[in-house]
């Protein structure tokens, strides 16, 4: 286990409002980490900073053995370095088939001329089937992804995330709107992925976090309030105050 991502002293403000305030955060590879916090705690902004959507006002974001800085890199470059992101609302390409969605995500050269010369390979097809099997969509491959149920779209997106073969997976509310059975399956997929990858899961639902059985970071007002096991942080009076006191 070695540190994969390190954020230190990161701050960002929007029109004077400090969304992230002197935040420091580390994750190893492989590791599973859950991030919880009340609304407006900065969870989404935290992901936006790592993936390059938002530029922080100060601080450092260092990734990998070579300690490359992610700041100043474009979203697509960060994705190529090995950071994958799943959004809160499932965003799959609804006008395209499940197979095409997987193919888009599959780790391959990303330049326009590489894509133009791209040929379908047996290897690629096999990899797509493997991934589809893993997220339970093997029978849905030829369907338009717009026809999938909400839960299936979430899985497709997780599958696409895995197809990218990133080293760090940022997963925003994977269990939102899922039935208990679907949640269980989602937990399995994520726990499995965390055996080889660094996985950051942002989640509201404590029950879901408990099942992930991992270290928990509590965010509040843009900085880390507590860190530790779920039992440890839920006994922290400050955390109780933030969650229950308002």
């Amino acid at each position: 286990m070695s540190t994969l991502l390190e954020m230190s002293g990161v701050s960002v403000s929007f029109d004077g409002f400090k969304a992230i305030n002197n935040l420091s955060f580390q994750i190893a590879e492989p590791e599973m980490r859950a991030i919880i916090g009340p609304n407006g705690a900065g969870k989404t902004t935290f992901m936006d900073i790592i993936t390059g959507k938002t530029k922080p006002d100060e601080g450092r974001v260092i990734f990998g053995e070579k300690s490359i800085s992610l700041l100043g890199m474009s979203e697509s470059k960060i994705a190529k370095v090995g950071v994958g992101r799943k959004f809160q609302k499932p965003t799959v390409f609804e006008a395209q088939t499940v197979r095409e969605n997987f193919a888009l995500a599959l780790k391959n050269p990303r330049g326009p001329f590489d894509v133009l010369r791209h040929r379908k390979t047996k290897n690629g097809a096999q990899r797509i089937e493997e991934l589809a099997e893993r997220v339970g969509l093997i029978d849905e491959l030829p369907r338009l992804s717009g026809e999938l149920s909400h839960g299936q779209k979430q899985w497709l997106e997780i599958g696409m995330l895995l197809a990218q073969s990133p080293r760090l997976l940022l997963v925003d509310e994977p269990a939102a709107g899922m039935t208990p059975a679907e949640r269980e399956k989602t937990t399995d997929i994520l726990v499995n992925a965390a055996k080889t990858h660094a996985v950051v899961v942002v989640e509201h639902d404590m029950e879901f976090v408990r099942r992930l059985n991992c270290k928990v970071t509590v965010l509040n007002e843009g900085s880390v309030l507590a860190e530790g096991t779920l039992d440890h942080v839920t006994q922290n009076p400050e955390v109780i105050d933030v969650y229950l006191g308002r």
Partner: protein, 387 residues
Amino acid sequence: MSQTFITRHPSTLWVLAFLGLFTLLVSVFSEAAGVGLVSTSFVKTLGKTLCLCLIAIAMDVVWGYCGILSLGHFAFFGIGGYAIGMWLMYARTEAIVAQSLSANIIPPTDVEISTAIGNQIFGVVGSSDFPLIWSFAHSLTLQLLMVLLIPGLLALVFGWLAFRSRVTGVYLSILTQAMTLALALYLFQNDSGLRGNNGLSGLQNIPGYEETPQAFISIAFFWASSAALALGYVLFAWVTAGKMGSVIRAIRDDEQRVRFLGYHVESYKLFVFTLTAVVSGIAGALYYPQAGIINPAEVAPIASIYLAVWVAIGGRGKLYGAVIGAVFVSLLSSYFTGGSAPDINLGFYIVKWTDWWLVLLGLSFVAVTLLFPGGIASLFDKLTRKS
């Protein structure tokens, strides 16, 4: 490879077969073949329509597939026309001047010839000097290169600036329209070096073929337009099929998501924008020798808006939809505005189609957008799916 490509894309095969048959029929019944059922001027209209189909499929790729509503592609079309028009006008004037000066006892000097050509071309705007942009006009090869290079470079630079700043949606449309308007206003000026609002004329006379009747020249251009459309169709069908098509449709639907998948969205947009601009330039270079004249009004933003209307009526996101739209609307347009459509006498008011055609076009645009968002092509799809 093309074998498998075509068999995998039957609609491309259908379009090519239909285009081939159409070209053959028109040729057989043309005046050039001695039959004359299809008049030479109608052959020109059909040839021009094929060029419009070519720019329509380019527009469909950039708008229908990639989601960039460009209101500037007719500017690239016009630039292509101007580029080839410069050579046509120069070479023809040179031949005329050489003939008239050959009567002189003392052979004319190069300067005298150049001044005489300049006088002929730029007399209408009160000048006889060749502007810098005419430096290559003497050479067909160089000027053909300009047909490709100028639209390509303009699109590359403009697109790079616009896409890099993440200008999207309606703002990008306005920006492309501003580019088109700026170009048109520049061309309208007498000192633009392209004869101001006179434009370039006499383009139907091909230097070196003065003795050839227009019947044959029109058929030659008709074939060239047909071949260009066929090649363009196959090119775009290839680009929009497979993984490239998948990526650009994904960009249309959610470009931010595509970025997080690791694709550099701006490069893709730039690639599509530039490629379609070059094809539009080629279409223009084939169109204007058949039209005979090009003037700045052709480049005005309204033309590019028409283009978007054709594609919307024909069916966005399907190449044959763009072809249907361009054929349907431009032929109807020339029917209604050509004065051959009978006026409708309502008793209290006479509907003159030359005035009311635009109203009809506007209404059908609204109707198609509201009732058949997929355009005419979606009706085709429904028919084929049922059978």
